[in-house]
C-alpha cells in the first residue's frame, strides 16, 4: 500500500483575498509557509521582495489573529518575535561596535529560507510529475515466481550398507540355531556344582581341574571361576572343604574335609 502523492496543494496560490487569509491560519504549513504566501503576493521573484514589508505584513497578520483570539501554534509566535527583531534591526542604523547579525544579513537569511522552501516545493511537484510506477510506468504484471524444489542428498555410509546386507543375509537363514544364552553362575549354583564335583574326593585337587569341563568358552570361564572361588570360600568357612594355595597366583587346591559327608539336598 503505497500512498499516492496528491498534487492538489501545488496549484498556484489563490488570488489575494485578505478576508479569507486573515482568518484562516490552519491552511498554512507553519510560519515559513505563511511568509512564503505573503511574499508571493508581493512579488513573483523572492529575490526582490521587501523583507521589511513582509515582516510588517506578517506581524499585522499575527496581530489580527490574536485580536480574534484564535489559537495559534507557538511556531508562529516565535517567528513573529524574530521578525519584530529583524524589523528593528532594519530600521535602526547599526552601531559600529554591534557584533550581532546585521538586519541585512537577517533579511538575506529569511530570503534564503523562503527560496529554499519554495525550491523544495517545486522539486516535490516535479517529482510528482514524473512517470510514477504503478500509475504510468509498470512492472511485469504477471511476475513468474521462483519455485523452490526440495531435493534430498541421501546419506549412507559403507558400514550402514554392509550391515544392511549382512543383516539381510542372516535373516534369510532358517531359524534352527539355539538362542544365545548368557551363563552366569550364581553363588548357589556354584556351590552346588562344587559340592557335586568334589564328591568324596579326599585328595588335594586344583580348583581349575574341577572346572576344566566348564572352561570351554571364555565367557563361562570367568563367571565359573569367580562364582566357584567365592563358593569355595563359603564352603571352607562352613568347614566342608579345605583350601590350599602354595604360592601367590598359583593353583588353588581344594579337598573334602575328612570325616565330613557331602550335605544332602534339603
Amino acid at each position: 500500500m503505497t500512498p499516492d502523492p496528491s498534487p492538489e496543494w501545488l496549484e498556484p496560490a489563490p488570488p489575494p483575498d485578505d478576508e479569507v487569509m486573515y482568518v484562516d491560519v490552519d491552511g498554512y504549513e507553519g510560519p515559513l509557509d505563511l511568509l512564503l504566501d505573503l511574499a508571493r503576493r508581493q512579488k513573483v521573484d523572492l529575490a526582490q521582495i521587501s523583507v521589511l514589508a513582509l515582516a510588517e505584513q506578517y506581524l499585522s497578520f499575527i496581530e489580527t489573529v490574536r485580536e480574534k483570539r484564535i489559537e495559534i501554534a507557538a511556531d508562529y509566535l516565535v517567528m513573529a518575535a524574530w521578525l519584530a527583531y529583524l524589523k528593528s534591526r532594519l530600521m535602526v542604523p547599526q552601531a559600529a561596535s554591534d557584533d550581532e547579525p546585521s538586519g541585512e544579513m537577517m533579511a538575506a537569511l529569511l530570503q534564503f529560507r523562503l527560496k529554499r522552501l519554495e525550491a523544495m516545493r517545486r522539486s516535490a511537484m516535479q517529482l510528482l510529475n514524473r512517470p510514477l510506477l504503478g500509475r504510468q510506468i509498470f512492472a511485469r504484471g504477471a511476475p513468474e515466481p521462483i519455485t523452490v524444489a526440495r531435493s534430498s542428498i541421501w546419506e549412507a555410509s559403507l558400514f550402514d550398507l554392509l550391515k544392511a546386507y549382512a543383516t539381510q543375509r542372516e535373516s534369510g537363514i532358517p531359524n534352527d540355531y539355539t538362542p544365545h544364552e548368557r551363563h552366569v553362575w550364581s553363588l548357589q549354583d556354584a556351590r552346588d556344582i562344587l559340592n557335586r564335583l568334589i564328591g568324596e574326593n579326599m585328595d588335594w585337587v586344583p580348583l581349575d581341574a574341577y572346572l576344566a569341563e566348564y572352561l570351554s568358552t571364555p565367557e563361562q570361564r570367568i563367571t565359573a571361576i569367580a562364582s566357584t572361588f567365592a563358593s569355595s570360600l563359603e564352603l571352607a568357612r562352613q568347614g566342608q572343604v579345605e583350601l590350599r594355595q602354595t604360592l601367590a597366583f598359583g593353583p588353588l587346591f581344594v579337598r573334602r574335609r575328612k570325616g565330613d559327608r557331602p550335605p544332602t539336598e534339603s
Binding site: F138, A139, R140, G141, A142, E144, P145, I146, T147, V148, A149, R150, S151, S152, I153, W154, E155, A156, S157, L158, D160, L161, L162, K163, A164, Y165, A166, T167, Q168, R169, E170, S171, G172, I173, P174, Y177
Partner: protein, 221 residues
Amino acid sequence: MSDESEVSESPDLADRYLRIIEALLFASAEPLAASDFVPHLGEGADIEALLTRLAEQYAPRGVNLVRRADKWAFRTAEDLNFLLRREQTDNRPLSRAALETLAIIAYHQPATRAEVEEVRGVATGKGTLDLLMEAGWVRMRGRRRTPGRPVTYGTTEGFLDHFSLESLADLPGLEELKGSGLLSNRLPPNMQIPLPFDGPLREDEDPLDPDDIEGQDEPNE
C-alpha cells in the same frame, strides 16, 4: 523477422503499435485477447498480425510471447524454466528399506526386483528403486531373458564414488564380513556371497527397451 507484408500499417505505425502491445502485455496480470488492444490501437490495426509478429520477434529470446487459447501472454522461454526453480537440498539418511535394497543390488547385481525381494523377504516398493535411481546410485542395466523379461538393476559410478569404492571388487566378501563381525559365525556352510558384476550386459540380459530409458532421467536434468 516476420514478413513486412503481413502488417499493412506503415513501418513507423506498426512499430508504434508493437510497442504498445508489448507494454500492455508486459504490464497485464492476465493474458490479453486481441480485442483488449482495440481501445489502445484503434480499429484499423490488424492486431492478430501484430501479435504474430511480436511473437516471432520474441521467439529466440529469453522471454516468449505465447498464445493460450485466444489470449496472449509473455512467459519465460521453456528451456529457461530451470531459472525459476531453486533447488533446495537437505541431507537425509537413507531409509532402511532403501539401504537394504541398495546393498542387495550392490552384491547381487545384475539383480531383478524379484531377486531383491527374495533376499529381503518383503516386497520392495517401486518408490525405493526410484529413490535409489534418483540418488544416482542404481541404474537399470537391461532385461533378464526370462519370462516377463524383468529389468535388471546394477550400481553406478556414483555409487562407487559415494561409498569410496574403487570398484565393486572392493566390497568385502564373506570372510571379510565375518572377520569384521558383520556376519556371525553360525552361518550355514553353504552360504555364499555372490561376486557383484557391473560390466557389460551378460548373456542372459537384453538391452533395455526404448521406453525404459525415458524413465531413467537423472534428477538434475
